[in-house]
């Protein structure tokens, strides 16, 4: 009985590898609605955003090798889809001006409160763990744009 179950499980695991989700990559193409076209972002803040936020909040994800293994890749795709729906730095210019301000305020709240980046993300992405100084840099930048 156990053997049959293990064998079936193996077959399923192998089979699902053939269903690769579409990747969130823009191949370096610039979007006309990028946030950089809207605000002046200091280089150090830009670096933090790229390292800690852009994987889920832009049109380009830096995929780790294990993204090719299912169901990890599927979970990641779902997270990215969700993240981009909430906030997409590459579509920021398309938001209404009120939404742009609101998103800025919420970004500051989330980062300051340590709710973002998600702990499930920083667990693996050590470079996305924000120090107090980095959080302040982001908060100060947001204050300067509002």
């Amino acid at each position: 009985m156990t053997r049959i179950i293990l064998f079936l499980l193996l077959i399923i695991i192998v089979a699902i590898q053939f269903f690769q989700p579409e990747k969130n990559e823009n191949g370096g193409r610039k979007s006309p609605d990028e946030i950089t076209g809207l605000y002046t972002i200091p280089a150090n803040v830009q670096t933090i955003l790229k390292q800690a936020c852009y994987d889920c909040h832009s049109n380009n994800t830096r995929y780790p090798w294990y993204a090719g293994i299912q169901p990890v890749g599927w979970l990641m795709a779902a997270h990215i889809r969700e993240g981009k729906k909430e906030l997409n730095f590459d579509e920021y210019g398309a938001y209404s001006s009120k939404r742009q301000r609101n998103k800025m305020k919420r970004m500051k709240e989330q980062v300051t409160a340590g709710k973002m980046p998600l702990s499930s993300y920083t667990l693996i992405h050590a470079d996305a763990r924000l120090t107090t100084g980095q959080k302040e840099l982001i908060a100060n930048w947001i204050d300067s744009t509002l």
Partner: protein, 208 residues
Amino acid sequence: MKTIITGALVAATVTFTACNNSNNNAHDAHQHDTAAMAMKQGSSPADHSIAQVKPQFTNVDANVMASLTPVFGHYLHLKNSLAADNSAEAAGSGKAMEIALEKVDKAAMTPEQQKEYHENEDDLKEHAEHIGRNEGNIAHQREHFAQMSEDVYALVKAFGGKQTLYHDYCPMYNDNKGALWLSETKDIQNPYMGSKMPACGSVKEMIQ
């Protein structure tokens, strides 16, 4: 095999219940902290101190108003559900509002009205969606309700609320940062604090 499945189910149930409990406790503690300060907030001020506000647009098409009315209706229902600490009903109102927002008649709006509506549209949809899928997490529903209230307030001020609406303010919500809400009654029923301090807050404006 059967034992394994049963075991897994039991484990899952325990985890789920545990999560729920910790959420509730955290929420209770928060409300308890702020409860003492509630005493300072009195009941609503006398009538003469309430500013009366007229909506900005005087030429709102009947179809536009008819399509916005359900949005405001679900908002008020949501507000009352939160005031009654009913997370499930709040979620239901959020979902209903999401559907009502899809049916708003933008075509019959003037360009100026469209612009005002567009300013708030996506935010409102996002908040309605979050409230709709966070049944059981009333603290999170209230976070979104606070932001949603800003958008609904902007729309009511621009288009009118079909009925007289009161702009209320709770100074204590969100670590004393405060938040507004709209109500169909002059009596305060605080949607942020719920049954712990239902009368906390004051009437700021009357929009009609």
